[in-house]
């Protein structure tokens, strides 16, 4: 850990323009059993450490991407689910699954078998196979007339069960440096009503004389960005409102936040966010950054006793006791939920943490029985100028046009 941070701090000082410097492999802060180091077919590679934690399930540390021929770039110090909040439309239940049940304890985390992980490799913690590692073809990375680059990604997933639900947490590490976050829910529905008056109002008819109750899965993620190291990161919002009432032109508005902030999505202005490093640039002189596009299909803003649901994206300064979007342990003066982590601290060149809550309103359907097919909530965090050009542009030899 010390070494990896120092190495990146060092490169931040000395090598901002030398993105193709000869790089020693960053020394991992974990033993071999808890390391993932994968080189993809197109020459890029990913490395990280992983850990099973009682509430969070699988936690990844020191997530590092190396573009073909480039030096390693630390992206995230840590990433993991930070809550699954499940309020039902009839107010019959409001679960906080991660903190109140747990995703990673022995009883909660599925033991994976070879069948769970086709063409992959099972990774074990304390003798129990909990993580599946696969590389998968992802289709075109690039297509241009006769040229094509086929994409490939490393995938890592685990399964946690909470009551009748089985949650699948899957991460895609793409050859182009993109990160994919996906939470899947499968298993059985948890709550029904036989009462037509309630079922028609709060649910959907299933089979005969039974209604599945609609509900929301709010998946919160904690993304502790340490782009090129913990220092000098900034949180910026991008949006593109119409320039004037003619609606004919749109202008880029970029706002960097000086203090901790809670933000909502605004899809009609294409609002998005990025974490950029204020010291490291690519060889074009552009600040390296990673860019979060939120999924605005469903938004959940709950009652006032769920203040963490009032915004989708939060940027806070790093604190080791701020771990969960809700029901965070109030030990050592730490607040109960992410909305209260936003309390005016400076984000300027701070070690910052981004929180994203993605909502999925689950409307039951006949196909949810006897077992429901997995419904996925997925988003991406993509490099925005982390490289001076498409890092796969010269890969694989399928592009004949250079």
């Amino acid at each position: 850990m010390a070494k990896i941070l120092r190495r990146f701090a060092f490169s931040a000082l000395l090598l901002p323009w030398m993105h193709t410097a000869q790089a020693a492999n960053p020394s991992p802060a974990c033993s071999v059993d808890y390391q993932v180091n994968v080189k993809l077919a197109n020459g890029s590679s990913w490395s990280m450490c992983w850990e099973v934690r009682w509430r969070e399930g699988i936690v990844f540390h020191d997530v590092t991407y190396t573009a073909p021929g480039a030096s390693p770039l630390l992206i995230l110090a840590q990433m993991n689910p930070a809550q699954i909040h499940v309020p039902y439309d009839d107010n019959g239940a409001r679960y906080h699954d991660e903190t109140d049940y747990g995703l990673g304890a022995t009883k909660d985390m599925a033991t994976l078998a070879a069948d769970d992980c086709p063409n992959g490799k099972l990774l074990s913690s304390n003798g129990k196979a909990v993580l599946c590692q696969q590389t998968r073809a992802t289709g075109y990375d690039v297509k241009y007339y006769t040229q094509a680059i086929q994409g490939q990604a490393l995938y890592l997933f685990s399964v946690s069960h909470v009551g009748e639900y089985n949650y699948i947490f899957e991460y895609g590490f793409h050859g182009d440096g993109s990160l994919e976050f996906a939470a899947g829910a499968s298993g059985h529905l948890q709550r029904f009503t036989p009462i037509p008056g309630r079922g028609e109002k709060y649910g959907w008819p299933l089979g005969q004389m039974k209604y599945g109750i609609s509900h929301v899965h709010n998946f919160y993620w904690r993304l502790d960005f340490d782009l090129g190291g913990a220092d000098n990161d900034a949180f910026e919002e991008l949006q593109f409102p119409p320039e004037d009432s003619s609606q004919e032109t749109r202008v880029l508005q970029a706002q960097e936040f000086g203090t901790e902030t809670a933000r909502t999505v605004k899809p009609d202005d294409f609002r998005s966010w990025r974490v950029k490093d204020k010291a490291i640039t690519n060889s074009d002189g552009h600040a390296i950054s990673y860019h979060l596009e939120a999924d605005p299909a469903h938004l959940f803003h709950g009652p006032e006793y769920e203040p963490f649901t009032q915004s989708e994206v939060y940027a806070t300064t790093y604190k080791p006791c701020e771990n969960f979007a809700s029901h965070n342990p109030t030990i050592n003066g730490c607040a109960d939920n992410v909305s209260a982590f936003v309390n005016g601290e400076s984000l300027s060149r701070a070690d910052l943490v981004v929180w994203y809550g993605q909502a999925f309103h689950h409307l039951p359907r006949d196909e949810d029985e006897p077992m429901m097919d997995t419904h996925w909530s997925r988003y991406f965090v993509r490099p925005q100028d982390a490289n001076a050009e498409n890092p796969l542009g010269d890969s694989a030899g399928h592009d004949q046009g250079h």
């Binding site: 802060a29 059993d33 850990e51 019959g92 003798g127 948890q190 709550r191």
Partner: protein, 228 residues
């Protein structure tokens, strides 16, 4: 829920389950950095916490206590950079009589308990022991017991003959997370240690009720179901 003297026994039970999954392989490998605690490290951390006067003192004053969790201490990144060999464990113990959570931070290489913190209104996930204790209390309750049996019969067409006919998953219940379900005695949940149970039959049929049990009080305190 064991007595304070029963904790070690209960914990051995939990570790026993891990051992069945082949934990012995892990015992050999040395752990470092972000690695989760090995089962060896967990046992050692628990042993050290349970021998510390700051734990045994308050624990001795509570008739009922439970070891909730032993896991790697989430270090401050800066501390980890300064001391990469830092290898510490959190041991969490709940005292039902005083509704207090004890957190011991155990320094494994130094063989020392670095700190013990007491917290209130912090509720960690229920243990399996707490889950089964909750089910026993719910089924034994004069009001909830018959309702659960009725619902089991309605769902499965069979009579519930014993608690072992049910599979139960227990979540922590906090009244501030769901005021609508927290009428009457359930209002204390959060300050008290409470569970909410998700029930199915052994053959996977949902039993559509959500009993709430107050483990601090040792009683069932409410139930939500499909009906308002």
């Amino acid at each position: 829920m064991g007595t304070s003297t029963g904790n070690a026994v209960l914990w051995r039970g939990l570790l026993g389950a891990a051992a069945l999954l082949g934990a012995s392989e892990a015992w050999a490998a040395a752990r470092t950095g972000y690695d989760p605690l090995s089962t060896d490290e967990q046992s050692l951390a628990l042993k050290m916490a349970l021998a510390d006067a700051r734990i045994t003192g308050p624990q001795g004053q509570s008739k009922r206590s439970e070891v909730l969790m032993v896991e790697r201490h989430q270090e401050d990144k800066a501390a980890f950079v300064a001391t990469p060999t830092l290898r510490r464990a959190d041991v969490y113990i709940y005292l039902y009589d005083s509704d207090r959570l004890l957190q011991a931070v155990v320094n494994l290489p130094k063989n020392a308990v670095d700190s013990v913190i007491t917290a209130q209104k912090v509720q960690l996930p229920p243990t399996e022991t707490e889950g089964s204790a909750s089910l026993t209390l719910a089924l034994g309750d004069s009001k909830l017991g018959p309702q659960i049996r009725d619902e089991y019969f309605r769902s499965t067409g069979r009579k519930l003959t014993s608690a072992s006919d049910l599979v139960s998953d227990a979540l922590v219940f906090r009244s501030d997370a769901h005021p609508g379900a927290a009428g009457g005695a359930a209002r204390d949940c959060g300050l008290h240690r409470c569970t909410q149970l998700l029930l199915t039959s052994r053959d996977g049929i949902l039993v559509n009720v959500l009993p709430i049990v107050d483990l601090s009080r040792g009683a069932a305190v409410g139930m939500t179901s499909f009906a308002p």
